[in-house]
Amino acid sequence: MEERTLKMLTAQAKEIRQDIVKMVGEAKSGHPGGSLSAADIVTYLYFQEMHIDPEEPQWADRDRFVLSKGHAAPVLYATLAHRGFFPKEELNSLRKLDSHLQGHPDMKKVPGVDMSTGSLGTGISAAVGMALAGKIDKKDRYTYALLGDGELDEGQVWEAVMAASHYQLDHLIAFVDNNGLQIDGNVDDVLSPNPIDAKFAAFGWNVLVIDGHDFGQIEEAVKAAKATQGKPTAIIAKTVKGKGVSFMENQVGWHGSAPNAEQVATALAELQ
């Protein structure tokens, strides 16, 4: 990756993390941990990879992104706002009455949201449908999905994974935000999805395991995915829940609780 690109992405991701902390703090509820762990992946896709047009969010031939782990809505909203889909000021309205920014993404309300999600396991199926539509139309557009590792508990995920390889959807790229934690604790203690890579491989997917906070590795993985024919690709991204905010990192308690004003200030100081 070029030094300039790396700098740009690093700066964007930092601002997006700041906004995640601010908006969840302002909302007094929400999911900061899994938003921060996914911030680098989502930043990379929207600022470097995806063919999209903020001026025309419904452009038919755009690439699609499905946040299958819908509770990480803050990272998607912050990224879309920074990418120009809607004014950043709206981020303050997260989870408030009559706001576009619902607790979980609503495609009817937010420009740039390609699929409504929130019930876990459902987004990846919709992404399979989007990739299938592209295949029917012989289009070159890509569909990206972002799953949580806890989300892999849902049986529907594996129905979707089976269908994607059966129909050879090589324009489907699914990231797993492998931060190792879900609400009730360590994924290995709650209901282990491991080994994640071997599972996807056994289902016929091309599988790559990367550091989900390394933009160079994310870029290389997407390149490798796009070079793969006849198979969908799973990118298992090793991440840190709460990444960037020391007191949130690897702390399961920050899955679904909001920082108070003092904690927001501390977090923002760390994210400067």
Partner: protein, 312 residues
């Protein structure tokens, strides 16, 4: 009177529609020979996708297709569509109001020998309570054909309830189905029999029997349960002063529930509900089951007389 299963009419209509409209995509969950989407597969193989025995994923895939401009029809048995994949229908299809058509066959008792596990008697209730969802229950083959076309033309989620057995043809090609419009199949003054699906033909038979006893019963076909034709229901209740609903569904939450909701607010009249009385079904021949659970012409006649007697 000729008889056609609504699922057969669906298969035929879908295959024809698929050849005309290249946006139609069909998904099935390993039941294409039973749901009759196999007709579409034969006609338009490149737009038919078997999703395997995985209904939850099928509904999500349909949503994704619709989000990219396709008009997906997703078919399986009603028990697996409305039951197993309820969350997916609610959250991934109806919540974002995506243009997905769910065509659910083998609804009701007339599934027959497969028994209670497969006899879906709650789907109308489950589907009509979801915002944005249109619920269609065609009464015969002709209405099914037209309903499939109307569903494809309508922009938004539609649940189409279809049956396994052959049912008498009530309508011919001069009939015009419109989403949201009920139809007076027979005029009458003493009582209104409101039927849906396979029970419309039974309501018509009941009206004939009542006529022989000097009772003039009207028969209304309500094939759109949501968006319900409230105006027609109120008008007929006002005119006849008594109502009997007839459906191959639980008496809770289905056609009877929907009609009662309208009438209690707008025109309270004596009313009876014919349907399955809050129970599961069991194995048996379709006709034996209809008899056992009271979905018969005789029962309709009996209840019609009772509601007429309750008129003040």
């Amino acid at each position: 009177m000729t008889s056609v299963a609504t699922r057969d009419a669906y298969g035929e209509a879908l295959a024809a529609l698929g050849q005309e409209n290249e946006n139609i995509v069909v998904l099935d969950a390993d039941l294409s020979k039973s749901t009759k989407t196999c007709d579409f597969k034969k006609a338009v193989p490149e737009r038919f996708f078997n999703m395997g025995i995985a209904e939850q994923n099928m509904m999500g895939v349909a949503a994704g297709l619709a989000a990219c401009g396709k008009i997906p029809f997703a078919s399986t048995f009603a028990v697996f569509a409305a039951g197993r994949a309820y969350d997916q229908i609610r959250n991934t299809i109806a919540y974002p109001k995506l243009n997905v058509k769910i065509a659910a066959s083998h609804a009701g008792l007339t599934v027959g020998e497969d028994g209670g596990s497969h006899q879906m008697l709650e789907d109308i209730a489950l589907m009509r309570v979801i915002p944005n969802m249109v619920v269609l229950v065609p009464a015969d083959g002709e209405e099914t054909k037209q309903a499939v076309r109307a569903a494809a033309e309508y922009d938004g989620p539609v649940y189409i309830r279809l049956g396994r057995p052959k049912v008498p043809m009530i309508f011919d090609e001069n009939y015009k189905f419109t989403i949201g419009k009920g139809v007076v199949v027979k005029e009458g003054t003493d009582v209104t029999l409101i039927g849906t699906g396979i029970m419309v033909s039974k309501a018509l038979e009941a009206a004939e029997k009542l006529a022989a006893e000097g009772i003039n019963a009207a028969v209304v076909n309500i094939s759109t349960i949501k968006l319900l034709d409230e105006k027609l229901i109120v008008q007929m209740a006002e005119k006849t002063g008594a109502v009997v609903t007839c459906e191959e569904h639980s008496i809770i939450g289905g056609l009877g529930g929907a009609v009662a909701e309208v009438l209690c607010e707008q025109c309270p009249v004596p009313m009876a509900k014919i349907g399955v009385n809050d129970s599961f079904g069991q194995s048996g021949l379709p006709d034996q089951l209809l008899e056992k659970y009271g979905l018969t012409v005789e029962h309709i006649v009996e209840e019609a007389k009772k509601v007429i007697a309750r008129k003040k």
